[in-house]
């Protein structure tokens, strides 16, 4: 159960997202758009690219440090997942065996380079997604989605989902504890038992939704929920966006890494 607990440790990222730093204060819309631009630039590199990706680490590192987010919180989550990327990527070294470069006399095949490139891209994109939520609260994201013109119904039920997630997770933990207490070893985990347990959870959830709806009606709900808008686009938001995009553009279009590398090499001589 420790894996599940680790996986469902939503609360921690949520707590981090209510800090008050420069990046936390930025408009969520800007953060979403800049993060998307970042990922777009990163995945646009061809499959054998490795060194050109390195400068892009600056964006997650910036969010991490300026947002005062503990490195462990993110690193642990990045390490935890990704079986699919590895599963698909690990075949590259098997099928693509042409030697592309030789580093200090060791021949390296194209497959290994593209595999490592997949892993680096994976770390960059995944850590950015996690950091985005760590420096932007979930209600902030929802506010941004609504202001980016996503349908109101969609945003409102997304907010509902998030709010009741924690309630239902606690209820489920109680159910799981009861199951542990009443069964030994593998018993209690049969599909038949599982179906009954989860059906009861479903029935309880539907009951809860009905109670919530009645409570909403009694508080004057008329089919519309307004999302709290707390952010306004300020000069620093625009500045941050423009600056980031320019930097990504430079990193993508000018080969800084080999420029630095050439200079280093010649200075060694």
């Amino acid at each position: 159960m420790s894996f599940d607990l680790e996986y469902f440790n939503l609360g921690y990222l949520d707590t981090l997202s209510y800090k008050n730093t420069f990046v936390h204060r930025l408009d969520p819309r800007i953060k979403i758009l800049v993060s998307f631009t970042f990922i777009f630039f990163v995945v646009s590199f061809p499959k054998y690219e490795l060194s050109g990706l390195m400068p892009f680490f600056i964006y997650p590192v910036f969010l991490l440090t300026a947002g005062d987010i503990p490195l462990r919180a993110i690193a642990k989550k990045v390490l935890f997942i990704s079986p699919f990327a590895i599963f698909v990527g690990i075949f590259n070294p098997l099928f693509d065996t042409d030697v592309l470069i030789t580093i200090f006399g060791i021949p390296v095949s194209g497959g290994w380079i593209s595999f490592i490139s997949i892993i680096v891209k994976f770390i960059l994109t995944v850590s950015t997604a996690l950091l985005l939520i760590a420096v932007t609260s979930f209600p902030g994201i929802c506010e941004a989605l609504e202001r980016l013109k996503l349908p109101g119904i969609f945003v409102v039920q997304l907010l509902f989902l998030y709010r009741y997630l924690f309630v239902l997770l606690e209820e489920t933990l109680k159910i799981l504890r009861a199951r542990e207490a009443k069964s030994f070893g593998k018993k209690g985990k049969e599909v038949k038992t599982f179906i009954r347990i989860i059906s009861v959870l479903l029935l309880r959830s539907v009951d809860r939704a009905e109670r919530i709806y009645r409570a909403m009606l009694s508080r004057g709900f008329r089919g519309e929920i307004r999302v709290l808008k707390t952010h306004r686009l300020r000069l620093q938001d625009v500045f941050f966006a423009a600056f980031s995009v320019i930097i990504f553009y430079i990193f993508r279009n000018f080969n800084l890494v080999s420029f630095i590398g050439e200079n280093l090499k010649s200075s060694f001589r």
Binding site: P46, A85, F91, Y164
Partner: protein, 347 residues
């Protein structure tokens, strides 16, 4: 089977996002037309239920390993296709943000793969057709099994197509199919069995939840199949159009499939004034240098990837890469220092 950002090309990721966003907007519009206010809290709570339910594990018969509920088809049965699609999207958004399952660019593809097929094919075209008329437990079981398996097979196949179109993996198409489809057949059978079990159990206690077509599922009744078909057709055209436009603009994303069809990397060239203009514009505004359009007639050789991978520059690449990483770490430490100093000043 969550698609990862690192396996997608920007073109494929962007096209899948376009299709997904279009469907979200369409579903929201459909829901608004016949809005039942009870739906909003129900959608939110059932989304949370899917999450919570995934915490409860069970032993997969015959293997000893443990599995959990997926829930796409269950949502479609409980909520009808439109609401279910929005809820599935929400669940995947939260998974992408909090667990980085898939990532932000891959999110569009994931919503498509896990949402479209159960909501707009599995439920309206298979499940509802099979459980028509007098419902019995056997019918529900059969319908769930077939619809879930079909949905998951289509989803898995989409994952393969998206990965191959992105051109990042070397895994041959046939091997990829042989790996993915059987795994998802097994997953689909278990998931279908569980979905049927839940629907049957809940039907015994609260038949209104799973059967009342005029209550919760008012949205899915009446001509939903026709509408779903039309929606799908439109979406297919849009996506296809987007793909082919991108394919003509960015050759390498679709090179693989084109090679399969024509036996050579380029489609026999027809001079098309629109694409010519587009390529001109693209040359001038290219943000991503490697995605430039080859000159008309396919005369120009493919540009070497940037920077050219050859032994001469690889050492400088290595040195430079390490140097830049070092600089990034110093940059991070610097910001941390500034933050600390700033705090002291406040105090």
């Amino acid at each position: 089977m969550h698609m990862a950002d690192a396996l997608l090309s920007p073109v494929v990721g962007g096209a899948m996002w376009a299709g997904t966003l279009g469907t979200i907007i369409y579903c929201a519009k459909k829901l608004k037309e016949k809005m039942d206010e009870r739906m909003i809290p129900l959608m939110g709570v059932l989304g949370a239920f899917i999450f919570a339910g995934q915490m409860i594990n069970f032993t997969i018969p015959g293997t000893g390993s443990s599995g959990h509920l997926g829930g796409g088809m269950l949502l479609a049965i409980l909520l009808g296709p439109y609401a279910a699609f929005l809820v599935i999207s929400s669940v995947l958004i939260i998974q992408a943000l909090f667990f980085a399952d898939g990532g932000l660019l891959g999110l569009g593809a994931n919503i498509w793969n896990l949402g479209i097929y159960p909501c707009f094919i599995g439920y309206p075209l298979i499940y509802r057709m099979l459980v028509r008329g007098a419902k019995s437990d056997k019918k529900i079981m059969l319908a769930s099994l077939i619809s879930v398996v079909a949905g998951l097979q289509l989803g898995a196949f989409s994952v393969i197509l998206e990965t191959k179109l992105s051109g990042i993996t070397e895994l041959p198409f046939s091997a990829f199919v042989a790996l993915m489809q059987p795994i998802h057949l097994a997953i689909g059978l278990v998931e279908g069995f569980i979905t049927a079990g839940i629907v049957i159990y809940v039907r015994n206690i609260r038949p209104d939840i799973v059967e009342d077509l005029h209550g919760v599922k008012v949205l899915s009744s009446g001509g939903s199949m026709k509408k779903a078909l039309i929606t799908l057709a439109i979406l297919a055209v849009i996506t296809g159009g987007a793909f082919s436009w991108f394919a003509s603009t960015y050759p390498d994303g679709l090179k693989w499939s084109i090679e399969k069809i024509y036996g050579k990397p380029e489609i026999p060239e027809k001079v098309n004034p629109v694409t010519e203009n587009l390529s001109e514009i693209q040359k001038k505004t290219a943000i991503l240098p490697d995605y430039s359009f080859p000159s008309q007639g396919g005369q120009e050789e493919e540009k070497p990837s940037w920077p050219a991978v050859d032994p001469g520059t690889s050492l400088s690449g290595l040195l430079g890469g390490l140097m830049v990483l070092g600089l990034v770490v110093i940059f991070g430490l610097g910001i941390k220092m500034i933050r600390k100093l700033g705090k002291r000043h406040v105090l």
